[in-house]
């Protein structure tokens, strides 16, 4: 873990209302470089709403999200111009969707899916792009002879690994993940988790991972926020929250895990 002394992201009193219904309310936290934060809670708790508000995919109703740009300056994400916002989305950030089809282009080749992000930041040399794409497919354990296949021909686990490669190829500093292992078989999940865990720590990425699976949170995250009805009910070191949960709702969540 390589954490500098300045946060990467500063979130203050962030709220999102859908009419009179609460999406999330008064969420404040800071995220440091190299830190993995898990947001856990059941369906409808507001965790995906929060993630989308942080990643500028959804406009919040109130509050601020400040991000430390590569020049060291903090910028309010909702005051960026379109070009700056696109730079973040295409280069400095990644967003891994639960359903790989939402994050991939299903009808272009695996290599082009990875290469597209490189072209978006100005890389024009076909040989370099293909070499980088091949390297990244290898890092996510996709055989190099599949580089010209479309993701449509891939299994769910492979698609998810491809989506991860597509996101990480530009060396982002922050990656958002929405249930990255949801919908995968358990054995496929284990492989993906191990891969993610290795990549996140090797690259020193900061990540915000939304999951309803506490085992995923334990394996991937340093710190956890537990959400219920749009509010943060507990926050702390991941193993502390899971081994000594304080809030009634966290105790319920932890006690509901099935033992195998």
């Amino acid at each position: 873990m390589n954490m500098s002394d300045t946060p990467l992201l500063k979130v203050k009193d962030l709220s999102k209302f859908y009419g009179s219904r609460i999406g999330c309310q008064n969420v404040s936290f800071e995220l440091w470089p190299g830190e993995v934060l898990a947001i856990v809670g059941e369906s409808g708790s507001g965790k995906t709403t929060l993630l989308n508000c942080l990643a500028t995919r959804l406009a919040p109703s109130a509050g601020s999200v400040e991000y430390r740009m590569r020049d060291g300056q903090f910028r309010d994400l909702y005051r960026l111009n379109e070009a700056e916002r696109r730079f973040l989305m295409r280069t400095d950030w990644g967003f891994v969707h639960q359903n790989p089809a939402d994050g991939l282009r299903m009808t272009v080749s695996a290599g082009a899916n990875v290469g597209e992000r490189l072209m978006a930041i100005g890389d024009r040399h076909y040989g370099n792009i293909r070499a980088t794409a091949t390297d990244w497919l290898g890092r996510v354990e996709i055989a190099s002879d599949r580089i010209d296949d479309q993701p449509r021909a891939f299994s769910g686990g492979m698609r998810q690994r491809l989506q991860i490669a597509r996101n990480l190829v530009t060396n982002p500093r922050l990656v958002f993940m929405d249930e990255p292992t949801g919908g995968l078989d358990v054995s496929v999940q284990a492989r993906l988790l191990d891969l993610l865990r290795g990549l996140v720590s090797d690259l020193g990425l900061a990540a915000i991972v939304v999951t309803h699976d506490l085992a995923v949170a334990r394996l991937l995250s340093h710190r956890m926020m537990v959400m219920k009805d749009g509010h943060i009910v507990e926050t702390g070191l991941t193993d502390r929250v899971l081994d000594d949960p304080q809030a009634p709702y966290t105790q319920l969540l932890v006690s509901s895990i099935l033992q195998v």
């Binding site: 340093h222 502390r240 081994d243 000594d244 105790q251």
Partner: protein, 235 residues
């Protein structure tokens, strides 16, 4: 050098919100300190709160009140109130922990499980693996197991992986939660000599040992946990 670990007036209880909010007091007025090169052993029957004290010192259990002071860099940190990022930093640089059970990660080899605390501190992976190999060899773990994930190992084999992982760093504080519980006599002896080397290196240790022979061999002092029982509230 400041005292590596000072625990003062610490109290812990569990509130079971799913059981009508029953409050289970565990310990109160826990106060002790451990000097460099000293091995203090928490004594008392099961349920007295020995493990809870160890887990509070590691930041794994929340602390109701009191302070747990550890020198960190040029300042003193109170682990009872420190933010998660500070606790992680203190764990990385100051506190080693041999837990009772190994929490395995799919697909990570025993050698890498042991090397990980060094890698986390920025030490070259090859060097970390060499040191891990030396420790596993010293603990008589068969070399054919080193490249396998420990999930399928026996209890004693997993425990030796756990011990090697805890002892690989030169953290000034080492917490030991029954490190010898499922070891045979030969490997218990190995662990005893490893603890002695740590003492000579000036490491402050706090441990739980149910095995009397091991306790006799390593303890400089017994901290009687029954003295921290919560008065007037029968558990």
């Amino acid at each position: 050098m400041p005292t590596p670990l000072v625990v003062s007036d610490v109290a812990k209880s569990f509130t079971m919100h799913l059981r009508d909010g029953i409050r289970l007091p565990v310990v109160a007025n826990v106060s002790f300190s451990i000097k460099a090169g000293e091995c203090a052993v928490l004594g008392g029957p099961s349920g007295a709160g020995k493990s809870s004290i160890l887990k509070m010192v590691y930041g794994n259990y929340a602390v109701d009140q009191g302070q747990i002071i550890v020198p960190y860099g040029d300042r003193l940190v109170d682990l009872a109130s420190a933010d998660p990022r500070t606790v992680l930093g203190v764990r990385r640089d100051m506190i080693g922990y041999v837990s009772q059970f190994l929490r395995t990660v799919p697909r990570v080899s025993a050698l890498d499980v042991v090397a990980e605390p060094l890698v986390a501190r920025g030490i070259d992976r090859t060097e970390a693996r060499d040191k891990a190999a030396a420790l596993l060899a010293g603990l008589n773990l068969p070399e054919r197991l080193w490249s396998l994930p420990p999930a399928t190992f026996s209890g004693g084999e997993q425990q030796r992986v756990n011990i090697a992982r805890g002892f690989i760093t030169d953290h000034p504080i080492l917490l030991l939660d029954e490190p010898t519980a499922s070891l045979d006599a030969k490997n218990r002896e190995v662990v005893v000599s490893m603890i002695r080397s740590k003492k000579e290196a000036g490491i402050a240790m706090l441990g739980i040992f149910h095995d009397e022979d091991v306790r006799e061999a390593v303890a400089d002092r017994i901290i009687d946990v029954t003295a921290f029982a919560v008065q007037g509230e029968a558990a």
